[in-house]
Structures are given as structure tokens and as C-alpha cells.
């Protein structure tokens, strides 16, 4: 009975909160830059003798760091391609998490799905000798299929036994990591004449072609984002996914097969994580190593949260994180600000987004309901 107008499309307040969160995170980040800069800290030591030094140095440190961050993220075409290549797997894996959110599931398993996808795609990529294009298609399909199965297991377990997907996906993450470590001790995965836990690099024929300085996987990521949007908003399956996510009982009563939706959703979510893995391993000549997935599968959760589990939001959040990652490297290389700062920024942004009341209080914004409702929904079982 409150004044909730309850309109489906209310992106403006959400966007405001998000932008405000990013700004706030940058402000906190600036404080961290100041206290982690040796010169500023020294100047603080004699603050009462030469107070001006402190502010000049602090200003310089903040300006230099953020400038390097911005330049590294988008200051040149090279920087843009770096940002895009880093964003692409985040977008794909993030879409997987978002899709599961929309169907009422909290998919913590993107990391495990990515790893299995990387194993499959990588194995085809470095083991077989296939003609160009065909090799890429086969390797990519294998990666996507492997990850889809990995995600599908969690979906099937939920559908058939009611096992909570948070538990099963976390456990499947462990299994995937162990599987990867195990395989990397096997001859079939190690390089010839080496005992190191590292595979051959994927063959040239299996790589994404490069266009405009970035690999074509980036374009695939954008295409897939559009496809996921279509799936959710325009297709009957997406209608079922959203209905199950918003109210599984009503969906069941309306004749939808909830177990089928759970299984299919996790299959597709896994496939999306698999696509991220494919970009990771077939984007450049990379080999399969213990850390091939980095933290993409976990960052994907943050990306999905920040993107409010919508395809467009996920793309934007993925681009932002990609920019922070590639800018962060230049920032560390050029100015020496630790790359950890970008991780702190990422964490802060999401923290602020998750606590919209805090952001509004700090920035004195009016409560227009741009809350984290999508997220809260995702939490339900």
C-alpha cells in the first residue's frame, strides 16, 4: 500500500544509483591512493611545517593514478582493444549468472563451468590438427558443451532432487579445479618433454581471427548478449524462465515444467560460461594452466549483480570491469599504484550498489526506488 508505482521499466533510478556508486567508489579509491603513495605519506609526516606539500602530492597522486587508469582503459585504440578483450569473457560469464538469477537461481558455479569449458576447448585446440575455421568451431563447441554439461548437472540436481544450486555449484567448482589440476599432471595435457603443469598452447587454426586489433570473440560476446536479451524478453522459454524465477509456484500452477526450466537455464548458463572460457583460451595463443580461469567466474557474479541481471546491464558492467582491469595494469606499470586498487574499486562499486540507501544518504538523493530488488530476488531458492 506504499507509493510503489510498480512499473516494470524503471531503469532511471537504478542507473542513477549505479553511477553514484561508481563515483563514490572512486572517491574512496582516491583516499586509498593518497595513503598508499609514499611521497604523500612522507609529506603528511611534516604536515604542520609544510601543509601545502601534502595536498599537492595527494592531488598529484590521485590525478596521476586515475589518469593512468583512464588512459590505460580507453586512451588509445590499443587500450580500447585491451578493455574489450578483457570485458568479453566477463560479459559472457556474467550473462550466465544473470540468466540464472532471472530464473531464480544463484549460480556460483561460473568458475567451475569456465574451467571445464577451458579444459574441453583447450584439449581440442592443442591436441588435434584441423583446418582453420573448422578447428575453431569444433574447439569452441566442445568448450561450450562441456561447460553447459557442468552447469546442467547443477540444474538437473535442483530439478530432480531439490538440491540447492548454491551448494551444488560451489562443490562443482571444487571438482572442476581438482579435475584441471589432475589432468595437468597427465601426459595428454602436459607439453612433450616437460613435467610442468601446463599444456601446449592452442594451435593457430583454433584461434579467433583478429579484427581491428581485437579477437573476434569480442563480437561474439556482444552478439550473445543480444541473444540472451531476446531469449529472456521475446521467447516462450525466457517467459518461462522469468516466471519460474519470480514465482515458481505460480509458474507450476500455470502449467510450466519447473524442473525443465531449472535444467535448461543452468545448461544455457553453463554454455555462456563456456563461451567465456573459449574466449579466454582461444582468444590468444594461451595454454591450459591451473589458473586459466583467473577469477573470471567470480567476477562474473559481481558483473551480474552490478548489471542487475539484465543483458544490457551485464554488458555495461562487463565493459566497466574490463576497463578497470586493463587500465589497472597501465596504472601499476606507469604510476606504480597497486593493481589491487582496481579490485577494491570493483568491490566498493558493488557494495554501494547493494546498499542503495547508503548511497542516497551520502549523496542526498531522493528515494525513488532504484533498489537492489533484482538481486534480492535472485537469492531465493
Amino acid at each position: 500500500m506504499a507509493d510503489d508505482k510498480g512499473k516494470a521499466v524503471s531503469w532511471l533510478p537504478t542507473a542513477k544509483v549505479t553511477v553514484a556508486s561508481i563515483l563514490l567508489a572512486l572517491v574512496v579509491g582516491a583516499l586509498l591512493i593518497v595513503v598508499s603513495d609514499r611521497k604523500v605519506v612522507e609529506a603528511a609526516g611534516y604536515f604542520f611545517d609544510y601543509p601545502w606539500d601534502f595536498f599537492v602530492f595527494a592531488g598529484e597522486a590521485i590525478w596521476d593514478s586515475y589518469r593512468a587508469l583512464a588512459v590505460g582503459a580507453a586512451g588509445s585504440w590499443n587500450a580500447v582493444t585491451q578493455t574489450l578483450e578483457r570485458a568479453a569473457p566477463l560479459i559472457c560469464a556474467g550473462l550466465g549468472v544473470s540468466l540464472a538469477f532471472r530464473a531464480g537461481m544463484f549460480n556460483i558455479g561460473a568458475q567451475g563451468q569456465l574451467i571445464v569449458g577451458a579444459i574441453c576447448a583447450g584439449y581440442i585446440g592443442f591436441t588435434y590438427d584441423l583446418p582453420i575455421v573448422v578447428h575453431l568451431l569444433v574447439a569452441a563447441t566442445a568448450g561450450i558443451a562441456g561447460a553447459a554439461v557442468w552447469g546442467g548437472i547443477a540444474g538437473l540436481l535442483k530439478a530432480q532432487t531439490g538440491a540447492h544450486e548454491v551448494i551444488t555449484t560451489i562443490m562443482l567448482n571444487y571438482v572442476a579445479v581438482s579435475l584441471l589440476l589432475y589432468l595437468l599432471t597427465k601426459d595428454a595435457f602436459q607439453r612433450e618433454g616437460s613435467n610442468n603443469p601446463r599444456s601446449e598452447a592452442a594451435a593457430d587454426t583454433a584461434l579467433f581471427p583478429e579484427i581491428f586489433g581485437f579477437h573476434a570473440g569480442v563480437l561474439v560476446a556482444f552478439a550473445v548478449a543480444f541473444a540472451v536479451w531476446w531469449l529472456l524478453e521475446r521467447s516462450t522459454l525466457g517467459f518461462e524462465m522469468r516466471a519460474v524465477g519470480a514465482n515458481a509456484d505460480a509458474a507450476r500452477t500455470a502449467g510450466m515444467s519447473v524442473p525443465k526450466v531449472y535444467t535448461l537455464t543452468m545448461l544455457v548458463a553453463g554454455a555462456l560460461a563456456g563461451l567465456a572460457a573459449v574466449q579466454q583460451i582461444l582468444g590468444h595463443q594461451d595454454s591450459l594452466t591451473a589458473n586459466v580461469a583467473g577469477a573470471i567466474g567470480f567476477d562474473a557474479i559481481t558483473v551480474a549483480l552490478l548489471g542487475r541481471a539484465t543483458p544490457l546491464g551485464t554488458v555495461l558492467a562487463g565493459l566497466l570491469f574490463g576497463a578497470l582491469a586493463s587500465g589497472g595494469i597501465q596504472m601499476q606499470a606507469g604510476v606504480g599504484t597497486p593493481v589491487s586498487l582496481t579490485q577494491v574499486l570493483q568491490a566498493l562499486i558493488v557494495l554501494f550498489v547493494a546498499a542503495p540507501a547508503l548511497v542516497r544518504a551520502v549523496l542526498r538523493m531522493r528515494d525513488t526506488g532504484g533498489g537492489a530488488t533484482v538481486m534480492a530476488k535472485g537469492w531465493g531458492s
Partner: protein
């Protein structure tokens, strides 16, 4: 204690939930607060109980202004509240629940259960509540649980007791018992604010009746006012309380349930060897107190629960092994008892909810993609036809009033040709105006030759709609009677007392 409310106003943003409300609760009176769902009764009570902060206005106790910021303040001032949803810990005993929040300890921090039990016994005896302090709350019937809530309030020395829709969960017998208790409380000086939307009850128990509509006090009357008068005050226009219903033209049986049994997950037999028929062109009402197997019966008819024995025949074909999709496709319309739980997706728009079980039809999809235009056209038509009060078709259903939400469900289920309509609690939590509309549509559907099964715990509704009445008790149909059977008799059947009288009124 005299409780006075002076010019109390509560705004949520631009929405005025309570607008300049003033009323006085005299010591030892039963003051009924009558209004439709969403009229602002609960907002008012929540302000009295310290759960909401008034935008303006004041509350006075014996002429002294008071300000409550928490329920604790209200309790200390002598105000007690029994919520519609009980605030009891099911695995605690009655005494422990009463003790909760005001734990009495002996030395060394030992809880003094004995003292609490003593208090429960004493209050129970004084007001004729008949509650065993040692009983586990989860084992008690709903009516007794409610009395535990009352004891809790009394243990806190409440002088004004607020009862929020207390009769919604009770059987007719339990309602009578509650009214006895209310009278006994009143005689001993406790004032009672009785919130309800049921006209019969206010007339039976109220000393004074204040009617609230759209956040404003419409007027205060004596219980002598007639039901149509009260209804008109409540709704703002003249309301037909009786559905106009021509004689039914009964046809062949559409639904034939034979010896059906459902055993729930805990191994209890919740539907016990039930057989009945629903025939084309008639309304079969299933009366009974909530929790006597109606929910499971209906869910198994819809394929949501698989029966453990017996057959469900629709047009002679056994559907007991089918899932809900097949059942719906056969021309069964379904209005579930808990619409927000099963009937619609609150986070979906009106437009989407109107095709929630139709989206796969050729009209609305090509198998893969939705036909958005057709879905929008459908929404426009249904909103118009069923007079769904919504800003537009893209409003979320969760933002509509209960009556309009139910109309969405109804509109969807009526938008395809039906053989059988199963409606469970079709007007629960729905305003009087919408009840009238929904009842009319259901009878209209009957007259079109559809077999209709209505499940309701409200006897008024059963009487208003049914051509035959089956009464359920403990998972069985204890009898099937005609609507001219006296109320008391059906009440007794609902309590499981009588099966031998069924012969005289068999329909």
C-alpha cells in the same frame, strides 16, 4: 482507559493512507473498524501500535498525548495487538510463548516456567479462554493459537486490545467462541478494537461501528444499521449482496472423482477416499474449515499433486496421472486459493500475467517467440472486459489491489472456453465491489454450461453461489446438501459432528 485518536494522518510519498482520522475508544467498549481491504485500517492500527510513525496528528490516552516509537512503548502504555498472522513460536509451549520477551527468572538466570504457567492458567480461567499452558503451540488448533495471542496481550496488562481481522482463520463455531471471549473481556473492563470487513460480525458484537473508506472516516454508527447500509458506507455505492441467480440447467457430469485418496509428505491421509461429481451448468460448493483437505483435493484435480489412489475423470477420461499443463489444456479453468502464491507472478506485468498459462497457444506464440502484439491486444481486451483497475497493462500485478489482482487471474482463466471451472477462495481478500463482480462472472460461466466447483471457507459465499453444497471434514466429504439447509446444520457438519442428517437434504 480511554483511547483517543485526533487528526491522525499517514502519507507514503504522495499516497495518503490515513487522512485526518479521529475517533475515540471508550473504556469497556467493542469498537468495530469496518472497511475494505486497503482502506487504511491496518495503517491506522500500526500507528497505534508504534509500528508506523504518523505524519501528523496525535494519540491520547486518558487525555494525555502519547508518542509510540516502538511496539514496546505501546505495550507499556497498555495497548495489546493480535495480528492476523500469529507471532508465536510453534515449537514452544503456551507458557513459554507468553513468557517470551518478558522472561521471568529465578536466581542464577533460570527461567521461571512455573510462574508463567500459573499466569496462563489464571488468565485462562478469568476470561474463559480454556488454554493449557503446557501444550505445544504447533499442536493447537488455529482458534486456540489465537487465544494464546490474546493471553500474551493480557499478560502484558493490555487495557485496549486490537484484534486485526481475527475471524478470517476461524470456523463458524470458533467465531462464536471468540465473540464470547470478547464479551467477557469487555465485561471486565478491557476495550477492544475489532477490525473486520464482515458485516455480519460487526452487527453481532459491536457497540459502535466506525467505517473507513480510502483512508478517511466515513462515519460512526450503532450496530442497528442494516447490512446494505453498512456495505454502502464501506464501498461508497449501493451494493447487491445477493447474487442474482437463475435456476440452473444441469447437464451431464463433467468431473467425476472416484475414491480418491491423497497422502501428504508426512504420511497423513489428507484426502480420504473422496467421491463426487460436478455437472455441467451447476455450481458445486465445497464448504469446510480451512485445512480439512480442500487444498490437496483441488491440487490433485489440477495435476499439481498426484493422488495416491482413485480416479479423476473429466468427460470420462482419467486425468489423475496428468500434469497441470495437460489438465489446463483440457478446458479446465483454475483460480487457486492463494493467488499471490499460485495465481499470478507479482513481478510480472498485467499483460504478462494475462497469458501466464496461455503463452504457448498459437495465438500468443509461434512456438519459439512470443507474439507481443497479440499479447498486448489480449491485455487491452481483458482489462476492458473485466474492468481491471490498473494504470496500464505494464503495471506490475503486485502493485494492484487484491480485487484487481483476482480479476487478472479470473480474466485469464475465462479467456478460453471452459468445461470446468475450479475456484478456490475466489473472493478472499477482495473488496466488496469486486466480490459482486466476481460472483456475477462465476454464475455467468455456469449459465454458459460450464461445471463449476467452488471451494470456500466462507459460508456466505457458499450459500450465495452453490446449487449443491458438499461439506469436507478431515479429508472426507461428510455430506452433500442443498443450499436451503440451515446454516447451523452445515456449521455442525463442518465441525465433523453430523453425517446422518445428510439424507434429508441430499441434493
Amino acid at each position: 482507559m480511554e483511547l483517543e485518536i485526533r487528526g491522525l494522518t499517514k502519507r507514503f510519498g504522495s499516497f495518503v493512507a490515513n487522512d485526518d482520522i479521529s475517533l475515540t475508544i471508550e473504556p469497556g467498549e467493542i469498537h468495530c473498524l469496518l472497511g475494505e481491504n486497503g482502506a487504511g485500517k491496518s495503517t491506522l492500527m500500526n500507528m497505534l501500535y508504534g509500528l508506523l510513525d504518523p505524519t501528523s496528528g496525535e494519540i491520547l490516552l486518558d487525555g494525555e498525548p502519547v508518542h509510540f516509537t516502538t511496539p514496546g512503548d505501546a505495550i507499556n502504555a497498555g495497548i495489546g495487538m493480535v495480528h492476523q498472522h500469529f507471532m508465536l513460536v510453534p515449537v514452544f509451549t503456551v507458557a513459554e510463548n507468553v513468557m517470551l520477551g518478558r522472561e521471568q527468572t529465578r536466581g542464577l538466570g533460570m527461567l521461571d516456567r512455573g510462574k508463567a504457567a500459573e499466569l496462563v492458567r489464571e488468565l485462562s480461567a478469568r476470561y474463559g479462554l480454556d488454554v493449557d499452558p503446557e501444550a505445544m503451540v504447533e499442536d493447537l488448533p488455529v482458534g486456540v493459537q489465537q487465544r494464546v495471542e490474546i493471553i500474551k496481550a493480557l499478560a502484558n496488562e493490555a487495557q485496549v486490545l486490537i484484534l486485526d481481522e481475527p475471524t478470517a482463520v476461524l470456523t463458524p463455531q470458533e467465531i462464536d467462541e471468540l465473540m464470547e471471549i470478547m464479551r467477557s473481556l469487555k465485561e471486565q473492563g478491557t476495550s477492544i478494537v475489532f477490525i473486520t470487513h464482515k458485516l455480519r460480525e460487526v452487527k453481532a458484537i459491536g457497540d459502535r461501528i466506525t467505517v473507513i473508506r480510502r483512508g478517511k472516516v466515513v462515519g460512526t454508527t450503532a450496530p442497528g444499521a442494516s447490512e446494505p447500509e453498512l456495505a454502502e458506507m464501506m464501498v461508497g455505492r449501493a451494493v447487491k449482496l445477493q447474487v442474482e441467480k437463475p435456476e440452473p440447467t444441469v447437464g451431464e457430469p463433467v468431473l467425476d472423482v472416484r475414491n480418491m485418496t491423497v497422502i501428504d509428505a508426512r504420511g497423513h491421509t489428507v484426502v480420504d477416499d473422496i467421491s463426487f461429481q460436478a455437472r455441467a451448468g451447476e455450481v458445486l460448493g465445497i464448504a469446510g474449515v480451512q485445512g480439512n483437505g480442500q487444498t490437496e483435493l483441488i491440487k490433485s484435480l489440477m495435476g499439481l499433486v498426484k493422488p495416491d489412489a482413485g480416479q479423476i475423470l473429466i468427460d470420462g477420461k482419467d486425468v489423475s496421472k496428468q500434469g497441470p499443463r495437460e489438465t489446463l489444456e483440457q478446458g479446465i479453468g483454475y483460480i487457486p486459493e492463494d493467488r499471490s502464491h499460485d495465481g499470478y507472478v507479482g513481478g510480472f506485468t498485467v499483460r504478462e500475467n494475462l497469458v501466464l498459462d496461455l503463452y504457448k497457444h498459437d495465438e500468443f506464440s509461434n512456438g519459439l517467440a512470443l507474439r507481443l502484439d497479440a499479447i498486448a491486444d489480449n491485455a487491452r481486451e481483458r482489462i476492458e472486459e473485466f474492468d481491471i483497475r490498473t494504470e496500464d497493462m505494464d503495471s506490475l500485478v503486485s502493485s494492484l489491489s487484491g480485487g484487481n489482482q483476482q480479476k487478472v487471474v479470473l480474466a485469464r482463466e475465462f479467456s478460453r472456453p471452459l468445461k470446468l471451472l475450479i475456484a478456490s477462495q475466489p473472493t478472499r481478500g477482495v473488496d466488496v465491489g469486486s466480490i459482486e463482480f466476481i460472483h456475477k462472472r462465476i454464475i455467468g460461466e455456469r449459465d454458459r454450461g460450464t461445471a463449476v466447483v467452488i471451494v470456500s471457507t466462507e459460508l456466505d459465499e457458499i450459500y450465495a453461489l452453490s446449487d449443491r453444497i458438499a461439506v469436507m471434514y478431515a479429508g472426507r466429504i461428510v455430506g452433500t446438501v442443498t443450499p436451503d439447509t440451515p446454516r447451523e446444520e452445515i456449521g455442525l457438519m463442518m465441525a465433523g459432528a453430523s453425517t446422518e442428517q445428510e439424507g434429508s437434504h441430499r441434493g
